[in-house]
């Protein structure tokens, strides 16, 4: 190849351009190429792959500078910026016209050249603050692309245009725009705006208010690609406005955790899925941190040492939140690609939905989707029929918040339904061995189809039995519900996996039938809607029922009081029981069972004092008993009503399940037909194969015969010759 590679102590610059610092160092490698062109090619690939050539600071791409300066320690911003800012902070904050007045042009140039040559010139007391300020501005101005990249310029201007209309909303937008900037740009802009904010706080002495700084600094940071006067002057005012906001609202705009109130757009304007997913919003800030390791670490602890530690800490943060165990590799890879994390992190399922929203919503949606907790993402992923583990993990945390939501919205029947779900989940396991053909529980974990099967045949029947039992045997139902409750409590821990599968399968149902039955409602909302709407109604009705009930009780008791004024003891006995049970019933779902448990035992309690007061008044006792009976009757009626309502809801669910069952059957029959067709095809192929083989055998036989005959003839011929 003609490549000779040896250590050279001599400086040879033939064919090597612009790499003086590499070649100047002794012990550099010397590559000898056949032709100049070849050498250039080598050099190009070497530059690309092996090291980053130092070609100056001014006019270099920011990312390259930051990357290059990694060797001097982890920094947020280029050395030159850091040095300038530190110097100004030390000496120049009170200087009148800071960043407005010019520095010494010649000295600025000198300093620039020094930095470009890789030196680190120190500013001393003789250095003019304005010179350093000019140097800083020069650096920003000379970036090949301004801090706000050209492609983002228009978005920022639009933001500035809207600022006058709805400030908080637009600030949220602006914030999102900022966080979409490349990491290096974001860091530097953050750094500078923070510093300018500081400078502004001394405006009484330096006369540089935020407005002035914005005027002076804005064009260095925000500028159009087209350098024509029209676009420059056209944007000038908006640039100033924007820059002022960047300086003034620095803290909220660059904060890692979005100020929820200002950043969140009005919920009503958006599609319901995101609004319904509010509870899932809370973990998003930390996720933001996760997704932007560079910014977090570096802006968080500027003094953090070593790049290696940075790496490891990045892994640590990723591992700490391993429930989103997702693309850690990409995380690490990202730091070498200049693109913003979000660009490479948009999970595919989300891409379709945020597109419908305004672009400023990307962040929020991104959080939600990234968490993987959003029902819709679960749906989308589930519909692929292969729930991966990472999806399952977030899933497992899902049922709990939703159950909580139920409990709040639906005090009475919650236990029943929760019991329903948990018992269903519990009995799913039991159903598996009973209907042995359904497949193992492992399969259940792996694919939703098997979960379906279990649901459809085994546990569905189970549930139906549960429901019917609960409905008809009112006396037992209390105990049954109580049991279910206990199951809830016990299985709340163990619920995660099992019920998650049942939940996700339930949520998939509407997705499957979204085309026909629930077309109007978006797929992931529908299940919740279905359940929640009636439930809240039920809750209200129930509350009113309870109130009525209580009123009745009180009326009865008032009557009692009228009848027997001496009977304070008796009143004391049952006053606590009935209203307490009622109120507790409406407040906390858990106590329903208990109230039902000790209500039957109420009469014995009352019987206790009875012998003592027997001679007193049998009438009052009778009235008491009657009243108790009425009370019990009312309670049972209420319970019956409740259970009926519960039954309605469950029936609806059953209907949904049936629908899905039907669909499953349909698909199964389709699959069966397909299998049959395949089998048929296979049989055909076998048949053809056999025929071919027979033909071939026949052919070889004939061939052999012919050959033998030919040989015989030849032999005969030879013999005749």
């Amino acid at each position: 190849m003609g490549l000779s590679c040896f250590k050279s102590w001599k400086h040879d610059s033939t064919g090597h351009k612009g790499n003086r610092d590499v070649l100047a160092s002794p012990g550099s490698y010397f590559f000898l190429s056949n032709s100049a062109g070849q050498g250039d090619e080598w050099l190009k690939s070497l530059n690309k792959g092996v090291w980053i050539p130092f070609t100056g600071v001014f006019g270099q791409r920011l990312e390259e500078t930051v990357l290059y300066e990694r060797r001097y320690g982890v920094r947020l911003v280029p050395l030159v910026v850091e040095q300038c800012v530190n110097f100004i902070r030390e000496r120049g904050l009170h200087e009148v016209g800071l960043f407005r007045q010019p520095g010494q042009a010649s000295l600025v140039k000198e300093l620039q050249e020094a930095f470009d040559a890789g030196e680190r010139p120190s500013f001393d007391s003789s250095t003019d603050v304005h010179t350093v300020a000019s140097l800083l501005k020069l650096y920003l101005r000379q970036l090949p692309e301004p801090l706000v990249p050209y492609r983002r310029y228009q978005d920022f201007l639009l933001c500035g245009q809207k600022l006058s209309s709805d400030r908080t909303l637009v600030l949220g937008e602006l914030r999102n725009l900022l966080h979409e900037l490349p990491v290096a740009n974001f860091n530097l802009l953050n750094f500078i705006c923070q510093f300018l904010n500081e400078v502004q706080s001394f405006s009484s002495s330096n006369k540089m208010s935020g407005q002035n700084l914005a005027t002076v600094f804005g064009p260095n940071i925000l500028r159009a690609k087209a350098e024509d006067p029209q676009s420059i002057m056209g944007g000038a005012v908006l640039v100033q406005v924007l820059m002022l906001e960047l300086i003034r609202e620095h803290e909220s705009l660059f904060a890692k955790i979005p100020p929820l109130i200002s950043a969140r757009p009005p919920g009503g304007s958006h599609a319901s899925p995101s609004a319904l997913r509010q509870p899932h919003l809370h973990p998003s800030p930390c996720l933001r941190q996760l997704s932007m390791p560079l910014i977090v670490e570096r802006s968080g602890e500027p003094g953090q040492p070593g790049a290696d530690e940075q790496n490891s800490s990045c892994i640590y943060t990723a591992a700490a939140k391993s429930d989103v165990s997702f693309g850690r590799k990409r995380l690490l890879g990202h730091r070498y690609t200049s693109s913003h994390p979000e660009n490479c992190f948009y999970p595919l399922p989300s891409s379709s939905q945020p597109l419908q929203h305004h672009s400023d919503r990307h962040n929020m949606d991104y959080h939600q989707y990234h968490m993987g907790q959003g029902p819709s993402s679960a749906n989308v992923q589930a519909s692929t029929n292969s729930l991966e583990l990472q999806d399952q993990l977030p899933d497992s945390s899902k049922p709990r918040p939703m159950l909580m939501g139920w409990a709040k919205a639906w005090p009475g029947p919650t236990e029943a339904s929760a019991g329903f779900w948990s018992s269903g989940a519990a009995e799913e396991e039991g159903a598996v061995p009973r209907t042995a053909s359904e497949g193992s529980s492992e399969a259940q974990e792996d694919s939703n189809l098997s979960a379906y099967d279990n649901l459809d045949k085994g546990s569905l029947r189970q549930r139906m039995e549960d429901v019917s039992g609960g409905h008809f045997e009112t006396n037992d139902s209390g105990g049954h519900i109580g049991m279910c409750e206990e199951q809830v409590e016990v299985e709340e821990e163990g619920q995660t996996r099992d019920s998650s599968s049942s939940w996700s399968s339930c949520e998939i149902l509407p997705l499957d039938e979204s085309s026909d039955a629930l077309g109007a409602v978006s797929p992931d909302v529908s299940p919740k809607r279905l359940k929640r709407l009636p439930s809240s109604q039920v809750a209200e009705e129930e509350n009113s029922d309870n109130d009525d009930h209580e009123d009745n009780n009180e009326n009865d008791e008032d009557v009692d009081d009228d009848y027997n004024e001496d009977d304070d003891d008796g009143d004391n006995v049952h006053h606590p029981t009935s209203p307490a049970s009622c109120s507790v019933l409406s407040d906390s779902p858990l106590s329903t069972g208990s109230s039902e448990v000790f209500l039957p035992s109420g009469p014995p309690d009352l019987q206790g004092p009875e012998p003592d007061s027997q001679p007193r008044d049998t009438h009052s006792l009778l009235a008491e008993l009657r009243q108790q009976m009425a009370q019990q009757k009312a309670e049972y009626q209420a319970r019956i009503q409740r259970l009926e309502r519960c039954n309605d809801v469950l029936e609806r669910q059953v209907a949904v399940l049936r629908l899905s069952l039907e669909q499953q059957k349909c698909s199964r029959s389709v699959a069966e037909i397909k299998i049959r067709n395949m089998e048929q095809a296979k049989a055909d192929a076998d048949f053809r194969n056999n025929t071919l083989q027979r033909e071939m055998e026949l052919f070889f036989q004939m061939h052999g015969d012919i050959k033998r005959r030919g040989g015989d003839e030849g032999g005969r011929g030879g013999a005749s010759l």
């Binding site: 009148v96 016209g97 960043f99 407005r100 007045q101 010019p102 520095g103 010494q104 042009a105 010649s106 003019d128 304005h130 501005k137 101005r141 201007l157 006369k207 540089m208 407005q211 002035n212 005027t215 002076v216 064009p219 260095n220 500028r223 350098e227 024509d228 006067p229 029209q230 676009s231 420059i232 002057m233 056209g234 944007g235 000038a236 005012v237 908006l238 100033q240």
Partner: protein, 199 residues
Amino acid sequence: MPEQSNDYRVVVFGAGGVGKSSLVLRFVKGTFRDTYIPTVEDTYRQVISCDKSVCTLQITDTTGSHQFPAMQRLSISKGHAFILVFSITSRQSLEELKPIYQQVLAIKGTVESIPIMLVGNKSDETAQREVEAKEAEAQATAWKCAFMETSAKTNSNVKELFQELLSLEKKRDMSLSIDGKRSGKQKRADKLKGKCSIM
């Protein structure tokens, strides 16, 4: 943009904070503000007499704090006359004018027929003086232009500055006075707004 022969365009250059806006405002409006506000770019118009007729004197107050080379080039190529302002309290501000002068020279080719005024502003602040009048005069001679010290604050030499500038224009006979019909029309930021709507 079609060339409006009626307009006479004067461009004011200078480093940040030397008092360009103050000079222009003093001349156009007769006021002085003690505020400290950097300019992006403002244009003022004023009717003056020109060749026994009237024309518009268009004064462009440029920004001193940051240079857009493109903007600067445009201003220079469209300008008929230039006022280069420095502050006598800052030698640096005089230094800053050198590249601008070079730019004017490069774009216009020659400065022979172009009215240029070198202006040392803030002449009232004698205590902080850094640039002696002699130095500036020497610089003006080197640049083949006129020199004048002004103070926008005390309104010293401001009107004279513009009068002198117009008198340097040999192609037209211009004068600030138009028989008492002097009407200062400020169209500040109109230009800016017009361009905003283009976007």
